[in-house]
């Protein structure tokens, strides 16, 4: 193919994403250094206020007071995203290993059922848990029916329900990359391990896990990134009372009308996620060489 026609063919994709995704990201970066317009949008002068707001609040007499509220929200979001990643890893690794151990037909079938939820509306997948967890929901009704409780248990609107929703949403993202690395393991390595009298645990620790690690890292990045910025699970299952970054950003553009602060928060999580991705890209080739 000619160089000219290559450029012609790639330009629509580059222009569409460049203009409508990359440039807006830089505009948001610019907005984060502006002053909030109380009617939405931004105005002069250029200031660092949005970033200062992460840690401080401007008091009536214009002095800065340390307020950890936003830092708590950010830390809580990080904690929930990390917890989601760890739980998805613990649940996803055995499933991926089980699928690898099956024959060709069953592998395909199982992969199909693991992939399918990814394509189902997250809004609806999250809503299902309201039906199950709310006061008049399935679990509470069952518990009362069995006479185990007479007051409904507060299962919804806490960190646990948010975590459940996040794990439910992102679990497929963990299974698939781990599966694709485990699939490439040479079965002879495992057989050799067992022939040398290693038990299942040692074979897992010394052979399977080291070879699965690149997939687990990829899966961890794929779960962590969207979990950190998630909006629906915290909003619907957390009741919107306990804020996470995703809802906090959304609020700055709706009810709070503080666009610079919302832009600054967006830039912050984008940077965190890019760092995670870079860390993964940087660690992956090294592993490949050693394996």
């Amino acid at each position: 193919m000619q160089r000219g026609s290559t450029l012609l063919l790639i330009s629509p994709a580059v222009l569409a994403i460049g203009i409508f995704m990359l440039i807006p990201l830089f505009i948001a970066l610019g907005y984060s250094f502006m002053t909030a317009d109380p009617y939405g949008g931004v105005q002069a002068p250029v200031t660092l206020d949005a970033y200062v707001q992460f840690l401080y609040q401007r008091d009536f007499d214009d002095s800065l007071v340390f307020t950890p509220d936003y830092i708590f929200i950010i830390l809580r979001s990080l904690y929930l995203a990390i917890a989601t990643t760890v739980i998805c890893l613990i649940l996803g690794l055995p499933v991926a290993w089980y699928i690898v151990c099956q024959n060709e037909g069953r592998r395909r079938l199982l992969l199909f059922f693991i992939t399918l939820p990814f394509w189902i509306n997250t809004l609806i997948r999250t809503y299902c848990w309201i039906l199950i967890l709310r006061d008049e929901g399935l679990v509470n009704k069952a518990l009362r029916g069995l006479g185990l409780t007479d007051q409904p248990l507060p299962l919804l609107y806490n960190d646990g329900s948010i975590l459940l929703g996040l794990v439910y949403t992102f679990l497929p993202f963990m299974v698939l990359p781990i599966y694709s690395t485990l699939e490439r393991i040479d079965p002879r390595l495992i057989e050799a391990g067992h022939d040398l009298y290693a038990g299942r645990i040692r074979v897992f620790r010394l052979i399977i896990w080291p070879l699965a690690r690149p997939g687990a890292l990829a899966g961890a990045a794929l779960v962590f990134a969207p979990a950190l910025g998630s909006f629906l699970a915290p909003d619907l299952l957390g009741g919107g009372k306990k804020l996470l970054i995703g809802s906090l950003i959304q609020m700055q553009f709706t009810s709070s009308r503080n666009w610079p602060f919302g832009a600054a928060l967006s830039i912050a999580i984008t940077v965190v996620i890019l760092l995670v991705m870079m860390l993964r890209a940087w660690s992956a080739p090294q592993r490949a060489v050693r394996a």
């Binding site: 409508f20 189902i120 990134a225 910025g229 995703g246 553009f253």
Partner: protein, 267 residues
Amino acid sequence: MKRRPFHWRDTPGLPSFTAAILAFLYAPLLILVVYAFNASRMVTVWQGFSVQWFAAVANNGDIRSAAENSLVVAVAATIASTLIAIAGALALERGTLRVGRGVVAGLVAMPLVVPEIVVAITTLVFFSMLGMHHGLINLIIAHTVFCIPFALLPIQARLREMGTVLEEAGRDLYADEWRLFRCVTLPLLMPAVGSGAIMAFVISLDDFLISMMVSSAGSTTLPVYVYGMMRLGVTPEVNAISTILLVISLVFVASALLLGRRRRGPA
């Protein structure tokens, strides 16, 4: 007691663990569907099978206009993103991008990496800065952009998989580039184009967060409307419309995955 011979492929407990995970993934969806057919207005009290809530949803004018918006946006975004993806995949797999291939590939994958909430608000900021308030047009542009990688990935994978042998044969027979594309590459690519287009369609139809931030009063899409209903509480109507959306996604994705499976055959 007779012990089964040891085999490393059979880890004890793993089959039931996997079954439990699959149950965890699917039971909530099943519960939703069952509730949607419940005759009672009290969602959790079973009073017999009924399709009345589906009828109520079908007769709700707001839901119908939201569904129309969703369909218009999804069809337009699917066509645009699939065309862009075909061209992009050809350039990435068959083109001569000596420098910058990595940069281009990274840029095209951007919608998969940047968190949805960030895409949503940056798009909102961009449109408002330009003073673009065109309702559905804004939505179509935003959807096209984030659908590109979903349409592109299967097409790119297929191009890589089928190799260049047939295209080289065509070139040897003096086909020009356009004829080669029309008579050789495109027909071979069609299953992947089909599955890419369906994926883009489903992703667009299901999108909530970006649509919520970008849409305006007249251009509400179905998920945004349903979210508004959910915020008001659990009702049988929400269960019914959610079930409809669920079934639509399932049908489309199952067909896309089946189309994708066909490409495993000989190129």
